[in-house]
């Protein structure tokens, strides 16, 4: 089966529809599927619900889909870096469901693993717990959270082989593996596609079974907060 596509547009062909649910990898601007996001902007798909830890910044990442008003609802843990997000949210144009970060990651992992729900202590006694089933285990109270199954997953990895085995780099792994697994269909973008056999099978982070289509491309990889220290002079 051919998984490698020429472009993000080609890789998304036939997968996008209005009102769809997309799970996206990335943390802040680190490890985000920037090429696939651009292609969704170009496709003009509307009323999208997106599960992603963050929503990019005004002019990069998922923030671009906000500028074009293509997002109906976000499921996120932190959206602080985005003025347009706040404007649309406060004016009621955009729905927002806050999930604690670990709950969001586990919802994706569970959804991809065939687990429809799980109990967690996270959020007990807070607004997050309102309306959710509470259950006691061994004297501790837990709440029920649902697994996420998305119509489409979009993720970014460092390298792939042509069978879709993925290798991530440093903290750019973040939400990408759980997001990849929770989609009915997954498209991955990578910096380099290498021939099968050239990745060490013991170092593959996400097996190709989860990845249906692949593209290679140039990434901007923008830095959100550039922090440095001075070199000590001898």
């Amino acid at each position: 089966m051919q998984k490698v596509y020429e472009s993000a547009e080609a890789a998304l062909d036939g997968l996008l529809f209005d009102g769809m649910f997309i799970a996206a990898g990335g943390f802040g601007l680190c490890g985000i599927p920037e090429l696939l996001i651009d292609a969704i902007v170009a496709a003009g798909t509307k009323d999208i619900t997106i599960a992603s830890n963050n929503c990019g910044v005004d002019d990069f990442g998922l923030g671009k889909l906000l500028q074009t008003r293509q997002i109906k609802k976000m499921i996120s843990s932190y959206v602080g870096e985005n003025a347009e997000f706040m404007r649309q949210y406060l004016s009621g144009e955009l729905e927002l469901e806050f999930n604690p970060q670990g709950t969001l990651a586990e919802r994706m992992r569970a959804g991809g693993a065939g687990i429809p729900g799980f109990y967690t202590r996270t959020g007990v006694g807070t607004v997050i717990a309102e309306g959710k089933e509470h259950k006691e285990f061994d004297g501790e109270t837990y709440i029920l959270e649902r697994g996420i199954v998305a119509d489409l997953s979009i993720v970014k990895a460092w390298k792939a082989d042509d069978t879709g085995n993925l290798v991530f780099r440093k903290t750019a792994r973040n939400f990408n593996p759980p997001a990849a697994t929770c989609g009915k269909f997954c498209v991955a973008e990578v910096e380099e596609i290498v021939p099968r056999g050239s990745l060490d099978p013991d170092t593959i982070h996400l097996p190709g079974i989860y990845v249906h289509r692949l593209i290679q491309g140039e990434h901007e990889k923008r830095i959100e907060q550039r922090t440095t220290r001075k070199r000590e002079t001898a």
Binding site: S77, G102, T103, A105, T120, R121, I128, E224, T227, R229
Partner: protein, 208 residues
């Protein structure tokens, strides 16, 4: 004299023991890393890293290597990377010995509020709710009172909670306090700070 930010961070660093895996929040908690000395402490960054190193030298920033505050950082010889699900599995699973976090309000029963002020811009809880629910010990580092001079150490939190009954110890500019049966116990006072001064700025019940 009440402690300044660095003195609070230094005092918080005394809470850490050799061999601990620790998560530090944003603000004063981040400064704690400067005061661990020779102790063998491994810092977790909840976006998927154990063994967080200092900021990179100028020109050596790597967009693929950031902390939970989205700042560029470096790796160490002990560093391990993992995905967000595994990161919070180790947090929720109680593998992280302690979290040192900032707060807007803490109550005498250990309730913590540090993620939203109703009517103001809500940015989200990030990983804070998972951390306080999961780690072994939650240590809050914050100013004892807000800029208006109102106590942040309360009988009951007024803001939406991050966690219920989760705080073990509070380190403020005035001293160190433990959440115990019936209220807060004074563990230590900052040099030159009197018990009366603390009581006048504390809304919570002090048991000793």
């Amino acid at each position: 004299m009440p402690w300044d930010r660095n003195q609070m961070a230094a005092r918080a660093a005394e809470e850490l023991e050799d061999g601990m895996y620790v998560n530090l929040g944003i603000g004063i908690p981040t400064l704690v890393a400067n005061y661990v000395g020779d102790k063998d402490i491994t810092l977790q960054s909840e976006n998927g890293m154990l063994g967080m190193g200092p900021f990179p030298f100028e020109g050596e920033e790597d967009p693929d290597l950031i902390n939970a505050g989205k700042q560029t950082i470096t790796e160490l010889s002990r560093t391990a990377y993992f995905d967000s699900a595994q990161s919070f599995a180790m947090i929720r699973g109680g593998k992280i010995a302690a979290a040192i976090l900032g707060a807007m309000e803490v109550a005498e029963n250990g309730d913590l509020a540090n993620w939203m002020i109703p009517g103001k811009l809500v940015k989200g809880m990030g990983g804070a709710m998972d951390l306080v629910a999961g780690v072994g010990r939650v240590i809050v580092v914050m100013d004892h009172a807000n800029k208006k001079g109102e106590s942040k150490v309360l009988k009951e939190c007024t803001l939406p909670l991050t966690g219920k009954g989760v705080v073990d110890r509070i380190i403020t500019n005035l001293g160190v306090f433990d959440v115990v049966e019936g209220g807060l116990a004074i563990v230590e006072l900052a040099d030159g700070v009197s018990r009366e001064e603390v009581l006048s700025l504390t809304d919570a019940t002090v048991v000793n």
